[in-house]
Amino acid sequence: MPEHTSRFTSRRGLLFGTAAVGAGALLAGCTSNDSSDDEPAANDQPAAAESSGKPVTIGFAGPQADHGWLNAINDNAKNRAKKYSDVTLEITEGSNDTAQQIGQIETLINKKVDVLVVLPADGKALTQVGLKAMRAGIPVVNLDRIFNTPQAYRCWIGGDNYGMGLNAGHYIGEKLKGKSNAKVIELAGLDNLELTKQRTKGFDDALKNYPNVRKVARQAAEFTVESGQAKMAQLLQAQSSFDALWNHDDDQGVGALRAIDQAGRDDFLMVGGAGALSAFQAIKQDNGVLKATVLYPPTMAASAIDLARALGQSKGISGLSEFEIPASLTLYSAVVDKTNVDQYMSTGFK
């Protein structure tokens, strides 16, 4: 080997090599993302029943956490489980591949966990494995993306996409009350997804209650910062004046706000969606167009752990009369604005 390297031991080669190694070492140090307060979505809400009871092993399978909201889902589940001394959490490596996720859930079934919490990468495609778990006597808490049949889960808990649109529409409608000929635009999420259609439908339905408000434009971004910036820049160019904007997702909202800033526009009210920390902070500071955001709370994963624990211990939910947990729980998409943002700050995700 050394015989062949003579060409590379020239001074130029040596200089280049040293520079490359140096750059590499410097770069490797630059992958760190640790900052002082990296504790996400702390859960201050009270747990269902604080006193510890029968030990429960909960298996958790979710998709690959490739964006902020899904990441917050995992964190919420983990942190909640840690709070209970009687809960052991078996968490799988998240996967977006249906076959892989089925395999992971089957492994959890074979391990004979007491309860399963499943956020499927694709609800319809994972129905069979949900059924399999239920038949094996393991109750399934289906998180957010719903299975094809209620037979595949004991309890479903998830967000309300239609309700998000509805509440965003009502908030904007109320704010624009008394303003004649008010114009509203919508920056939607990925149009391939059913949830985007539901959000838009809810938004349109709410706006029907306000005859003075008219939706003049809608463009779909892709839940990414890059697409949010690009689509928002075009929308701003297309509409020289409008009164309110609803953006489906706070992640793409980072890009949308950037475009608004770049265009130097501040003549309208903006409402976001999902509940990212950056959005909460902007709402609290109250020095930009973003005045509110509609929740799609990632805390549902913490609640799913609560439900799974209650199932494992054969308890109901405190505060309800029933001895059993409900079969289905649709969460409320609350509007967070300046008046209540402090309360939600700890649930904001990055």
Binding site: H67, N71, Q234, V254
Partner: protein, 339 residues
């Protein structure tokens, strides 16, 4: 379908007389007829935009907007044009842009400020290009497979670094470059970078030995080797060049979006390849045109802009985009073969 085909066909009628009207037509090589036909397509698009949305489309701000949106993918396409001209392909450009943009926006990198972000973005791009180049030129891997592997790994690494989080940039000197105050004589800095990269790319491809070697390797690698060209080293340099362009593009994207995210650069590989091919670069190698690629990018960006200004929804946009790609290539074929 016929509705979408008809406007570019109109340009086909216009273009040949336009080119004949030049008395100094001899200046134009055969390849330039293609360029003129692309300009025709762009002119028709501008006409459509101007008719449907005169106030919003024909506006300085809109011109700035279209050129800015074209900058990021434009820089990537210049690099891609070189790779395709040499008979290769780089499927990893989008993933490299993603990796470079997240690596350059971590908390640790941002501590080094403007220079740290720029340096990291460029070096990560070049580093990925180096790996691609070594695997292809000296490892004997097929470019399709090597860059596909890079696509997967770079996306994975980007996800690992970000943990799926959006990394917001807080360095004002970087952010300010995306604001209107930074425009030089009305030209956004991003567009200036795009222009400089384009001009350098054009000069290198058309006026240097490096460019001629690239074309030779793409035309016939064996003949190029027999003519004394170090084909392996040339290939290595080309993927390095593509990586460098991705690094620059990542920096532009950081300025534009004020953040780094692992989803950045989604499907850039397809956009860049499509723009280069529409521009007249041969997918099989041996012929490449930077002017054509840039026009290809501008055609795509203009289409997107016109669609958004007219409030067309994603489904219609995608159908029409496909039809326009086919129409543009057909127009180009016809004009190229009739002259």
């Amino acid at each position: 379908m016929t509705q979408h085909v008809s406007p570019p066909r109109g340009s086909a009628d216009k273009v040949p007389p336009a080119s004949e009207s030049f008395a100094w037509r001899g200046v134009f090589a055969r390849a330039d007829v293609r360029t003129l036909s692309l300009l025709g397509v762009l002119a028709v698009l501008i006409l459509i935009g101007g008719i449907t949305k005169p106030d919003e489309f024909l506006d300085t701000r809109n011109l700035q907007l279209v050129l800015t949106q074209a900058s990021v993918i434009g820089v990537v396409t210049v690099g891609m044009t070189f790779v395709i001209t040499s008979g290769g392909i780089d499927l990893s450009v989008g993933a490299i842009v993603a990796l470079a943009s997240v690596w350059a926006t971590t908390v640790a990198t941002q501590e080094y400020g403007f220079a740290g972000i720029l340096f990291t973005a460029v070096i990560v791009g070049v580093g990925c290009g180096l790996v691609n180049g070594l695997l292809i030129a000296y490892g004997g891997m097929v470019p399709f497979i090597a860059t596909l592997a890079m696509l997967a790994s770079a996306r994975g690494l980007a996800l690992q670094i970000t943990d799926g989080r959006t990394q917001i940039v807080s360095i004002n000197s970087v952010l300010d470059l995306g604001e209107r105050d930074a425009y030089v004589l009305g030209i956004p800095p991003l567009v200036l970078v795009f222009a400089v990269v384009t001009i350098i790319g054009w000069l290198v491809l058309n006026r240097t030995t490096f460019g001629r070697r690239t074309v030779a390797v793409g035309g016939n690698a064996e003949a190029a080797r027999l003519a004394g060209i170090d084909v392996r080293r040339q290939r290595l340099y080309l993927y390095l060049l593509s990586g460098l362009c991705c690094g620059i593009a990542a920096f532009l994207l950081i300025i534009l979006s004020g953040s780094g995210q692992n989803t950045n650069g989604n499907l850039y590989e397809l956009d860049a390849i499509a723009a280069a091919i529409i521009g007249g670069t041969l997918l099989s190698g041996g012929r490449g045109t930077i002017t054509g690629s840039v026009l290809g990018v501008l055609i795509f960006t203009t289409i997107t802009n016109i669609f958004a200004l007219n409030n067309l929804q994603s489904d219609v946009q995608q159908i029409a985009k496909g039809a326009i790609i086919v129409a543009a290539v057909l127009v180009q074929r016809r004009t190229a073969s009739t002259t």
